[in-house]
Each structure stands twice: as C-alpha cells, then as structure tokens.
Symmetry: C2
Subunit: 224 residues, 2 copies
Amino acid sequence: MTDDNLIMTLAILGGTGSEGSGLAVRWAASGYRVIIGSRSAERAQAKADELNATFDAGNICGMGNVEAAARADLVVLTVPYAAHQETLEVVREGLQGKILVDVTVPLKPPKIRTVQLPDGQSAALEAQAFLGDTVRVVAAFQNISAEHLLNFDHPIECDVLVCGDSKEAKAEVLRLVEAAGMRGLDAGLLQNAIAVESLTPILLGLNSRYKGRGAGIRITGLDL
Amino acid sequence: MTDDNLIMTLAILGGTGSEGSGLAVRWAASGYRVIIGSRSAERAQAKADELNATFDAGNICGMGNVEAAARADLVVLTVPYAAHQETLEVVREGLQGKILVDVTVPLKPPKIRTVQLPDGQSAALEAQAFLGDTVRVVAAFQNISAEHLLNFDHPIECDVLVCGDSKEAKAEVLRLVEAAGMRGLDAGLLQNAIAVESLTPILLGLNSRYKGRGAGIRITGLDL
C-alpha cells in the first residue's frame, strides 16, 4: 500500500465485466481514483472511457491487470471463477502488502444455481492460500447484483457481508462498502466466505424462480 | 405418510429445545397436531404440557423420538449436530415414505461463529445420504431464531430458504413455513443446504458483534 491510512486508488481486476464496472462507477462517484484492469489494456481503457462518459466521471482509467494491481492502493478481483487462479498468478507480485477484496463466486457453469464448492471450499480462501500472509484477503460483494450497482435511481436494498482474518483490512473494506452506497457488516473470519459465496447460486435460482432481476439479502434483527 | 395429501400430525424430534419448541407452538396455533419427540418420553411430555399451558394450546403431546417419528405424517429434526446421526439411526424405520425436514445446523462448539463444513458438506445432505431415496429430505428453518418463533407479539422478519430434491416435498414444507407465520422461498436442490446451514454461524456472529438477538435474512429484489 502506498499509504497505509489513505486508500485513494482502487484497481478492479476483471473490471470490464458488469460487476466490476458497477463497483467502479460507485467508487468513482465517491471520489476514488479507479483503475479498470483487464487481460487486455485496450479493452480496459475502452471500458473506462465508456464508464466515464456514461456516468459523467473522469477518474476511471484502464490498464492491463498486472499494471493495475501494481499501481493501486487496494485491489478488487471480479473475474469469473474460471479465470481466478490465472489472474492471481500474474498479479501476485503487485499485491504484496496490499488488501485484496475477492468478489469471485465459484460458479461452475452450466449449474450456476446449485452450490458447487471449490476444492479450497471458497474462492477467497483459495486466494489467501495461494497469496500467503503478506496479502490480506477480504471477501465481499458476492451477493450484490451488478444491475443495482449500475443503477443510481434507487437505493440498493442489499447488505454486504464482509469476511476476513484482518480486522484492519475489514475496516477498510467496510468503508468502501459504505462509499459504494450499501450497508456492510463484519461477517467474521475469511472461512465464512464459504457461506457468502455459496449464497450466490441460491440468489440466481431465486431470480429465475420468482422473476427477480437482482435478488439480494438484508440482515434483519440487529440493533443498527 | 398416512395420507399423502393431508399432513395433519407433525413430529418434532429434539422438540424440547428452543427451536423445536418454537416451531411446535407455531404449528399448534395453526391447527396441526404436534408431537414433541425427545430421547426421553417423560421430558417430551413435560415440555408438551408446558407449551400447551403457556401458549393456551391443547394439541401438543410428547413421546420418545422413535414413537414420535413413527406416528407422524411428517417429521422435523431439530437436534444439535452432535446428536444428528444417532437420532437418524433410531428413527430411520419410522421415516420411511415420509418427508423429513432437517433444521440441523452443523455447528461445532466452541467455534460456533465460524463455518465448519461437516464431512458430507451439510447436515441435510448427510441425512439424505444415510436415509436413502425412500425418505424425502427437505432443509429449512436453519436461519430462524427461536426467540422469534416463541414470540407472537411481532411478525417474524425472516425468510425461510427451503432446499430439497423433491418439488412435491418442498411444496409441503413451503405450506408449513407459511403456517408458522413466515415467507418461504424455494431455494433449489438439497445441495444448496450447504449455503443455508453455513449462514447460521454468520448470523450468530452478527448477533454478537452488533448486539442483535435474532439476526435473520430477508431476500430482497424479487417480484413477490
């Protein structure tokens, strides 16, 4: 991290996808500098240009994943599960000392509405195991529909469960959740990402069964 | 099942616990006959007497687990995970041809706020594997706090995710959810019980971290 207490530049790897783009415009609107990362720097820049134009922003730029990770204070991973491991491999060096927010859901098409745990039980746990202790992995945003993120016309009625083993890193991510317009809740250790990630196939099934377009969850019963 | 289309008598194994008792009084209030099952028939009857008196019901009785399972049209399992397998073994015969609603959460004390998947990945999946195809296992109610069930003064602000491989069995259980005063949602195959069961440790952690007493979930974003 360039400055331990001042996270200003966020990289969103896989940011050309709808979830990453949704987070990018939310954080850009809150004043963060946002780097869209992609395997192709050209596609990343094209998406950044599109988002800046559509959302009247100017603080989104695009780069290849490796450079994006290296330049950012904090890195967010929003790739399909099939690209999760290969992306971690190429950005590993640039992540050292930083927080990685893993948004990846281990969906295995075509059965995306049924829980299929990955070998490491969760994408975020696999990331932490691969990256080692010098990167603090926090799992978050897996249950938030991109449709809501990209639509500023209504409040987002979904809570973000934030899991991680570093309290300090979770606190940073909880601030980012709020900056993106949602309520974040400390959901315990990174091990609990198993529950959060595996809820997404259920939400996708509910969307299909009950004609929703962005099913999410609200936690009830807390004194908040 | 004594009559395939008319479920009137419910057995709640482990019904002397707070979750089972909460479900018992809810269903008794809706007109079902409810049998509290316990390892001890005496304790089961004592709890039934107490619930009948406290909630002005007359349709709750108590029996040993084996007899309770044999007499019921549908059986609900609300035992601690440590007693899950041994309970299934003794009631296996009585469950044949019936629906088993598994409410068990595979908590492993003392770390009850951290997801710890059981060998079969979920208690309900373990039950289905042990019981075989002649029993239809449905997973439900794992995220509902007993405090809410036992308190008729306020509506329960929690949804019940219902997982199972038999659509017909899920439809029966969705009716029971409604009878207990909650909204039930078809959450897909029994495999998805992994997500629902593993959400409970997170809810217990949220209760502790945010001073809640009965954290639960509401599904948002559906056209319902």
